[in-house]
């Protein structure tokens, strides 16, 4: 005021002018709906037989956190580099992004992460328990047995794996050609399992007699001997056909191979295709003979497509009825065979939704070939009294059979899985590990409950990460649908295309057809992922909150319920449905 001011009584000044903040109003009392961060299950993870947390893996990869992404795979699956190549990736079939443009190339991403880790030679930091003094024996060093050993070791068991063959890997080693799975990749991933302390005893076949000794030394037993015995073709001259699996095993070694011209491959599964494609690479012209239609083939569709692209002919609706040496030319080399086929037709009645085929009258076709290969399935040994009968306390799980003999025994792998695939075999090993651990910790009756508690989504897939506790255990089992994705935040973008060998380049060799993605492409592809149901810290909830009621604490977001009015914008604007709006309970 003016210095010469002579007045002692000041002029009062009471004006509508703020002196405090609106923070005194706890507007949270207006709320009748409450938003919460509730992570949900992504359809890919629910579809993955191994229950991999794909949404998170892609999120980490999109940020360039490849080691962390890889470790997230390892929580559920010790074979990323293998599965990135040979898994038939049902995850991609379930991918919500397919409804916007194309699914994420999840298998490519997995393969990239697996290969990157192999190249770096790193070990994964995964959830594990310290040794608890229990010993488990595993029969069979295929994907199921090795997975069981990996997961059992993480749960604190000491594991020995018994393998009849000179090298571990089972079907991965002997049944899958190198153009789909190079040997070094398999070796690398198996080596890593061994490095965790798993002892693999090769050329150690388990017989009924040795089994008793093994039982005596161990607290539990996991049997995953696989389908080692091929099913023979039971037709006249069937003994003249070669077994496809044995052929695939032989071809791995530089053994002599004497065939040229045309060969018939009988069967419609993956092995049949592998045999045909391997023959093609050896200069033989294969013809696939299948008794049903092409769309009925149990082989995975991408494999069928690849085979057709390479020029393999498929003779569908043709059932072999006889093999005979060519009577006109019995002395020729290579030998000539006459393969007689009964033509089939689709019957009007279906069984279990699958079209039934019946002979099409007397229509007969005769093929002149220089070799016949069969790939019509295989069966396992009934080692350890399999399948467990009513005389034993037993439990039928989704991927295993479990019995309480003088010690707990679990049969897994191809012996027990609903789908005979590598990834299902891995799932079986994981299920066995969790079942055994629960059995010892909580008893027989807890096994089914515990397994159910760590399921991913509503399917049978179980998660080791969920079993061991953590964020994933808290995730809702609700599977996110495309309608629940806020598609406004996603713009169509082409799926990554891996570098692929031309057919001309492929055929002369067993080189891998698809190449691993380069880093930039992998990261770019990972950014296409919606990250369905999980928070990727996009910050939309905080950005769009009109109440300044979303805070970030140690990278996690928290809603300040003192001020949240429950408008729900955060939930709607969450691109990936990682939040829910629930009625406020008074």
């Amino acid at each position: 005021m003016a210095p010469q001011e002579a007045f002692v009584d000041p002029v009062p000044l009471f004006v509508p002018c703020s002196r405090t903040s609106t923070e005194v109003n706890k507007t949270g009392s207006w709320r009748y709906l409450r938003p919460t961060y509730t992570e949900k299950t992504a359809p890919c993870g629910a579809a993955c037989p191994a229950g991999e947390d794909i949404a998170r893996i892609a999120m980490l990869a999109s940020r360039g956190l490849f080691q962390e992404a890889w470790e997230t795979i390892l929580q559920e699956n010790p074979f990323p580099a293998v599965c990135g190549r040979v898994c038939f990736h049902p995850c991609e079939g379930a991918c919500n992004r397919a409804q916007l443009d194309e699914p994420i190339a999840i298998h490519q991403l997995e393969r990239f992460l697996g290969d990157t880790a192999l190249a770096a030679g790193t070990q994964a930091a995964v959830n594990e328990r310290s040794a608890q003094g229990r010993k488990a024996a595993v029969v069979g060093a295929g994907p199921a047995g090795l997975a069981a050993a990996f997961f059992l070791t993480r749960l604190g068991f000491t594991c020995e794996v018994f393998e009849a063959q000179p090298e571990p890997g089972g079907l991965l080693r002997w049944g899958i050609p190198a153009y789909r799975l190079p040997k070094e990749v398999l070796q690398g991933e198996i080596k890593r399992i061994e490095n965790r302390g798993v002892k693999i005893l090769c050329q150690t076949p388990v017989t009924a007699r040795t089994l008793e000794k093994i039982k005596a030394r161990n607290d539990a037993l996991f049997i995953a001997g696989g389908y080692g015995r091929p099913i023979r073709l039971n037709i006249p001259g069937g003994e003249m056909a070669c077994d496809g699996l044995s052929f695939l095993a032989q071809i791995r070694s530089p053994a002599t191979f004497a065939i040229s011209g045309t060969a018939a491959v009988i069967g419609g599964g993956n092995t049949a295709l592998d045999v045909a494609r391997t023959l093609l690479r050896r200069g033989v012209e294969p013809v696939l003979v299948y008794r049903r239609r092409r769309q009925d083939m149990p082989a995975f569709a991408p494999e069928v497509d690849m085979a057709l692209k390479e020029g393999i002919k498929i003779k569908e609706l043709s059932a072999p009825i006889r093999i005979a040496q060519d009577p006109n030319d019995p002395e020729s080399f290579p030998l000539n065979y006459e393969l007689t086929l009964q033509k089939m037709k689709v019957s009007s009645t279906a069984i279990n939704g699958r079209a039934r085929v019946i002979p099409d009258g007397n229509k007969i076709e005769t093929l002149r070939v220089q070799g016949v290969f069969t790939a019509i399935g295989a069966e396992g040994d009934n080692l350890g009294d399999f399948p467990p009968g009513a005389n034993q306390k037993h439990l039928e799980l989704s991927h295993c059979q479990m019995a309480l003999q003088d010690l707990p025994v679990i049969w897994g792998g191809d012996l027990a899985t609903p789908v005979k695939s590598v990834t299902h075999a891995i799932a079986s090993g994981k299920q066995a590990a969790i079942a055994l651990d629960t059995l010892f910790a909580e008893g027989w009756d807890a096994v089914a409950t515990r397994l159910s508690a760590c399921r991913i989504g509503s399917g049978p897939t179980v998660s080791m990460a969920a079993y061991l506790g953590g964020d994933r255990e808290r995730r809702s089992a609700r599977v996110v649908t495309f309608d629940e994705i806020n598609a406004d935040y996603f713009h169509p973008r082409a799926r990554v295309t891996p570098v692929t060998l031309d057919v001309e380049q492929r055929l002369p060799s067993f080189a891998e057809i698809e190449q691993t993605l380069v880093t930039g492409a992998a990261r770019e592809e990972a950014t296409r992922c919606f990250n369905c149901g999980i928070c990727n810290a996009c910050d939309n909830c905080r950005l769009f909150c009109p109440e300044m009621a979303v805070a970030v604490e140690n990278t996690a977001r928290r809603i300040n319920l003192d001020y949240c009015k429950g408008c729900g914008i955060c939930v709607v604007e969450c691109p990936r449905n990682a939040m829910v709006l629930e009625e406020e309970t008074p």
Binding site: V11, P12, V15, P16, C17
Partner: protein, 393 residues
């Protein structure tokens, strides 16, 4: 230094000397000379100020309110319709407690269009919370304008400096224009108590619920009530610095023994001084009470000077329809609780620029003298009865 200035330019000079920082105005006759001169001062650098040529009086007042809220000295000028158009914001300025000074040239309101002298425009703004000071001559205009800033900034209320259209705004008179250093002593730089400040962010003029609104209004009245005492104090300072007396809130001229006291405001007061001089020389007991300060209404002074008068004749150059002249109303209200107060005669004269001559005032004096009590609430002086009667035909 004495200069010959028209009344409008006396305002402009005072605004320049007051170092006003933001001026915003819209043209209206007869106010325009004030802001034209200020524009020139801003343009030639005589004043370091921003002149906003806004598109309406409403905006002119909004702009000075905003400028004053930002903590600078602000001024505007208007008249008649312009003032009426500002009405909403006159309330706003007062309730926001802003020390804005506005020159208001009294002019009649239309229709019919009339640009001449009439007080109804300013008096109809009496409830807005503005201090109103009415000027008599050019010197009074300059002095009152300087005083207005001092008063406004002391009590946090806006001040309207009111001058008659043409009789004052366009009339040249010798005016003693003080030196800048004198004015600077009288009027130190503005130090706002509350203003928009990014370092101390506050919301000004926000919602005031019933729980506080009434107290805020009482607060304005409390500040208003301090005005008479402060004015007296600043008059002393003014006299000390400028070596001349500034106009009093109320000036009593020969009231002590007067049989009739004429109550006047604005330039009529000067005419009245001449009438008093003439009639007194003939032995007539006439006096005058000039009211300069209309808001706050000087109730105590009016009671002191008129409580013992025999008859009071109020000359109102304005009219409140359905009631009476506004000064008469206010005066009656001020006196009504005083025992034995004199009868108050209300005269309406000089509306819409009609001349109020010495003869008009003599007629008022005579008519008051002739009646023991007021014959009617308002006596309209100088009506052309022929015209009035013609309406009924």
């Amino acid at each position: 230094m004495k200069q010959v200035l028209e009344g409008s330019h006396a305002v402009s000079e005072a605004v320049r000397l007051a170092r006003v920082q933001v001026i915003s105005a819209y043209p209206i006759t007869p106010q325009t000379h004030i802001v034209e001169a200020i524009s020139a001062f801003c343009a030639d650098g005589t004043m370091d100020a921003r002149f906003l040529c806004v598109e309406s009086e409403h905006s002119a007042m909004a702009a000075v309110i905003a400028a004053a809220s930002t903590g600078v000295r602000a001024f505007t000028a208007t008249s008649s319709h312009g003032l009426a158009y500002m009405h909403e914001l006159l309330h706003w300025a007062a309730a926001a407690r802003l020390p804005i000074v506005m020159a208001e040239v009294n002019r009649a309101l239309g229709p019919g269009w009339n640009i001449w002298m009439d007080q109804t425009d300013s008096l109809s703004q009496r409830d807005t919370g503005w201090i109103q000071l009415y000027c008599e001559d050019g010197q009074d205009v300059l002095d009152t304008t300087l005083m207005a800033f001092r008063l406004a900034e002391a009590v946090h209320l806006p001040v309207m400096v009111v001058l008659d259209a043409f009789y004052l705004s366009h009339t040249f008179e010798p005016v003693d224009v003080p030196r800048q250093n004198q004015v600077d002593r009288f009027l130190p730089p503005l130090v706002p108590r509350i203003s928009l400040d990014t370092a101390h962010p506050r919301v000004l003029n926000q919602m005031a619920p019933p729980g506080v609104y009434m107290e805020m209004r009482y607060n304005i009245q409390t500040a208003m009530a301090q005005v008479p005492r402060r004015l007296t104090q600043y008059q002393k300072e003014f006299r000390a610095i400028f070596d001349r007396p500034p106009g009093d809130a109320v000036e009593a001229v020969q009231c002590e023994d007067a049989e009739v006291v004429l109550v006047t405001s604005g330039t009529i007061s000067s005419t009245c001084r001449q009438v008093i001089s003439d009639l007194r020389s003939r032995g007539e007991k006439i006096g005058m009470l000039k009211i300069k300060m209309f808001r706050p209404f000087p109730i105590a002074l009016v009671r002191r000077f008129l409580g013992a008068a025999r008859k009071v004749a109020v000359v109102d150059r304005n009219f409140s329809f359905g009631a009476s002249g506004v000064f008469a109303q206010e005066l009656r209200a001020a006196l009504c609780n005083l025992d034995g107060h004199p009868p108050v005669f209300g005269y309406i004269a000089g509306l819409g620029g009609r001349d109020v001559t010495p003869d008009t005032l003599v007629e008022i004096y005579r008519r008051t003298q002739d009646c023991p009590t007021p014959p009617e609430e308002s006596i309209w002086i100088g009506l052309n009865q022929e015209v009035v009667q013609s309406w009924y035909n």
